[in-house]
């Protein structure tokens, strides 16, 4: 009887915790539909069969500037492009907040920085950001060909805004893409994302 009680207690502990922050690794990534900065519709479900990388960005954030300024983000995008991976850059800054841009400005930034995303999606309501519990810029996610979440976390392993640290850091996204191409498991699938907080709209 005591055993039964203990088992019931344990079951209760699990049942009560269904509410988690963001999508879980190995589980289907939440679907979203949007229109990119070139007017093309983007739906996550349409990319089934291909790897997808999500990158949260805010071009004025020192941590984003670190990686774009040193060409590290572009290099990572290049690796993805060569593998035929869809790269979606998402901007969730609310209107009036740092990093908020219109479509024209977003495209200008892509051209200026020589960035290579497949799509840039504006998310001023923060809907996609909250769906993924994206907290910082840059915050990175990799979604498998079967639509399941394979990676969530930071761009690399050294939490700093200094470009000089990039050389010593492990680029988690490049490493994960390499492992996936080789048919291996992602070794570091859940890392700590560092950067500036995403400036979401209040409430909602």
């Amino acid at each position: 009887m005591l055993k039964l009680l203990t088992a019931m207690l344990a079951a209760g502990a699990f049942a009560g915790s269904a509410l988690a922050a963001g999508p879980d690794l190995g589980k289907p990534a939440p679907d979203f539909a949007a229109v990119d900065t070139n007017g093309k519709p983007v739906r996550l479900a349409d990319f089934k069969g291909k790897l997808v990388v999500l990158e949260w960005s805010n071009h004025q954030c020192p941590y984003v500037r670190k990686h774009y300024g040193a060409g590290n983000m572009q290099k990572t995008q290049g690796v993805a492009q060569a593998m035929g991976v869809t790269w979606i850059t998402i901007i969730s800054s609310a209107p009036g907040e740092q990093g908020h841009v219109g479509a024209a400005e977003a495209n200008k930034l892509t051209a200026e920085r020589n960035a290579k995303p497949s799509h840039v999606v504006l998310d001023p309501q923060g809907k996609i950001g909250r769906l993924y519990a994206a907290r910082v810029t840059p915050h990175m996610f990799i979604i498998g060909a079967d639509g399941k979440l394979l990676y969530k976390g930071g761009i690399d392993s050294i939490r700093s805004s200094r470009q000089s640290d990039i050389a010593q850091a492990k680029n988690y996204v490049t490493a994960a893409l390499g492992e996936l191409r080789a048919g291996k498991q992602v070794a570091d699938a859940d890392t700590i994302a560092y950067g500036c907080t995403i400036h979401y709209r209040d409430g909602s």
């Binding site: 019931m8 209760g12 502990a13 049942a15 941590y63 740092q98 560092y194 500036c196 400036h199 209040d202």
Partner: protein, 705 residues
């Protein structure tokens, strides 16, 4: 308003001015940063304390060691002369700042002081001037974030080895504040356990007074083990408290769980923040799982627990006698009504207990199931009750009237009220047995709004009544009970022994709570009760005159037992005095007056185990050798007034001092002068300064102490 504050802040420091040898200032867009030296010179072989002091623009913040969801910790890179070395930053306790989007960061607003110990080599040359250079980087954020940095240089002279370098008076407050904000050694052993997505942190030791606690927050040193923005649910119980944290990706890999526990406690003098360094070891699943229990499951568990209660040594005998009396009578519809009346009796008593629990909780008291057992008088009465039931089973006396069911009289001969009271009695008898079984469900219930709490308590009662109810409605079940016969009498006599055993256990509990005096009182009372009941029983069978005499004996004996209960209650605090510790004398107002008349100063430490600030003051200040050296030197009598259990004498003494809560530190001068009250946050220097006012006590007199 903000503009004015900001303007004042801008004026505070000119850009990069070296205003003295002991400080160097850098002014950035959002931070006025200074590198300060606590002392104006260095001493070979000693540690020099430096501080990076950041005055942060209003509305902006910098970050802690673990910055939380975003940001980056402040860093200092040192360039020191050969032989010098700098330690790691001593981080003050952080604040948690919440932002939209379920984001939280750990950092500082206003000012952030980062202490660093610099080791001066023993071969540093006296008379030389030495330059300590540092490059600090910090990320400062409001809505946007800016990485900033500053280069600092301090040039200080080296003094002779063994000399004492003077303190730079201007920074003394800053260094004091910085040390006060550092996490202290934790007085509570901590363990952690992961269950699903809940990471529980358990702190054992003293139960805190929840009514005085404003917030309890845990800040992990390493990022990734918990969700920084998630609510941290606190649950207090009699043995300590538990934090339920939302686990994140790295929780599974924890070996030890380190961090800082920040408690904001309300005192008479305002709210005080205390921080403790925590290194939690892996532990068994903490009892906090209750918070993630669903209401349905809690109800189910309470029901199951209630059924189990029927098997408890204190309940089973009562119930089996009742059941057997049913069996003797055969069952039928009338039995069903009796079953319902019994159930109503059980539920009425559980409802009453539930109402008391909820009412106490509403008043802010932290109590759990079994709270009654913390009261020695209740324990004593329970022991008597068990003993009396045992005597009844043994056949020393027979009961009539409402409690007849206990006596095994036939159920048919008594009214429904008899069944009702049997139910209530069974519930009373069950309470000492409930605590260990029902802790989870009741713990859950107490954390819920009143209706849910009541539902759980009633489910427990229903579970307890259920077997009996089923029996009364099912003749088939009833037929399965053994046939009544003379063996029932022997069985009843046998069942007296579990009751005696329970009484013995309760007497032991009482001896722990209230000492051997109370134990003696209980045993003497038990004998008086046994005698009284025997006399009463004899009186019922005797002729009229003998009846009066026997009844008088019975009343006298029972009154004697009652007086012993009262005496035991008064005697109870004796144990606290003994436990107060050898160095501290137990607080005694009469002794206090006598000592003052003798010309002795008295220091009274009004404290309680549930008061966080009291514990910190004792650990950091009142246990220090310097304080005890002064106490001995000045011939001060140190008394401890332990208010862990409310004590009327201490409450009165506090009221006389114009206070309503602890900590209070009162220094009574010899004679009749008014006592001096020390601040609620002590430092060694405050205590020593106060004690210094008294003349030294001659060594000859000291030896006699």
């Amino acid at each position: 308003m903000r503009v004015v504050v900001a303007a004042a802040w801008l004026a505070a420091a000119p850009a990069h001015a070296q205003d003295s040898a002991a400080s160097d200032t850098v002014k950035t867009e959002n931070v006025a940063a200074r590198l300060l030296s606590e002392r104006i010179a260095l001493v070979p072989g000693e540690t020099a304390w430096l501080a990076l002091h950041l005055a942060i623009r209003p509305g902006w913040h910098t970050y802690w060691l673990n910055p939380g969801d975003a940001g980056e910790k402040t860093e200092i890179a040192w360039t020191l002369p050969p032989g010098f070395s700098a330690g790691a930053i001593q981080w003050p306790a952080p604040q948690r700042l919440l932002e939209p989007g379920n984001i939280a960061i750990y950092g500082y607003t206003g000012t952030a002081i980062h202490l660093v110990a610099v080791r001066v080599p023993a071969d540093a040359k006296p008379g030389e001037r030495v330059t300590l250079a540092a490059e600090a980087r910090w990320l400062v954020c409001e809505k946007i974030c800016l990485p900033e940095d500053g280069k600092f240089r301090l040039t200080l002279g080296v003094q002779a080895p063994g000399s004492v370098a003077p303190v730079e008076g201007r920074w003394a407050d800053i260094f004091d504040a910085a040390r006060a904000a550092l996490p202290k050694a934790s007085p509570w052993p901590a363990t952690f356990a992961l269950a699903g997505k809940t990471l529980t942190l358990r702190f054992d030791g003293a139960a805190l007074d929840a009514a005085r606690i404003e917030t309890i927050e845990f800040f992990p040193t390493e990022p990734g083990a918990i969700t920084p923005a998630a609510r941290q649910a606190v649950r207090h119980d009699a043995k300590g408290f538990t934090l339920a944290l939302e686990a994140a990706g790295k929780a599974g890999a924890l070996k030890t769980f380190e961090g800082v526990l920040v408690i904001k406690e309300r005192l008479d003098s305002g709210t005080v923040t205390q921080a403790f360094a925590i290194a939690a070891a892996p532990g068994a699943a903490a009892p906090a799982a209750a918070s993630s229990l669903s209401l349905g499951l809690a109800l189910l568990m309470a029901l199951a627990g209630g059924i189990i209660l029927n098997l408890m040594p204190c309940v089973f005998p009562v119930l089996s006698m009742k059941a057997l009396s049913f069996a003797a009578h055969g069952g039928g519809r009338r039995m069903g009504r009796h079953g319902l009346a019994y159930t109503a009796g059980v539920l009425a008593l559980f409802a009453a207990i539930g109402a008391v629990l909820i009412a106490f909780k509403g008043m802010g008291a932290e109590i759990g199931w079994g709270f009654q057992l913390q009261e020695p008088v209740f324990v004593m009465l329970m022991a008597y009750l068990m003993f009396v039931i045992g005597l009844n089973f043994s056949g020393l006396f027979e009961l009539g009237g409402a409690f007849a069911g206990v006596g095994g009289k036939l159920a048919g001969r008594q009214g429904l009220s008899g069944a009702f009271f049997t139910g209530a009695l069974a519930a009373v008898v069950a309470t000492p047995c409930t605590a260990p079984f029902m802790a989870a469900a009741i713990g859950y219930a107490l954390a819920q709004p009143a209706p849910a709490a009541m539902a759980v308590v009633l489910a427990l009662g229903l579970g307890m009544a259920l077997p009996f109810l089923a029996l009364s409605y099912s003749p088939a079940l009833l037929r399965r009970l053994p046939k009544p016969g003379p063996w029932m009498e022997r069985f009843r006599q046998f069942l007296a022994f579990p009751m005696y055993a329970t009484a013995a256990w309760l007497a032991w509990v009482l001896s722990l709570q209230a000492g051997d005096g109370a134990l003696l009182a209980t045993l003497a009372g038990a004998i008086l009760i046994a005698f009284g009941l025997w006399a009463w029983s004899a009186a019922r069978n005797a002729a009229r005159r003998g009846r009066r005499i026997a009844a008088a004996f019975a009343i006298l004996a029972l009154a004697g037992a009652g007086a012993l209960v009262a005496w035991a209650e008064r005697g109870a605090p004796a144990r606290d005095a003994a436990a107060a510790g050898e160095r501290w004398a137990a607080f005694d107002p009469a002794k206090l007056e006598a000592l003052r008349r003798e010309g002795r100063p008295v220091f009274v430490n009004f404290t309680a185990a549930w008061c966080v600030t009291c514990i910190v003051n004792e650990k950091i200040v009142l246990q220090s050798d310097a304080v005890w050296a002064a106490i001995r030197k000045k011939g001060i009598v140190a008394m401890k007034a332990d208010w862990t259990r409310r004590d009327p004498a201490i409450t009165r003494a506090l009221a006389e001092l114009g206070r309503s809560g602890v900590p209070v530190y009162a220094v009574y001068p010899p004679g009749a002068g008014a006592p001096a009250l020390l601040p609620q946050i002590l430092t060694e220097s405050i205590v020593l300064t106060e004690f210094a006012a008294f003349p030294d006590r001659p060594a000859a007199q000291r030896a006699g102490q």
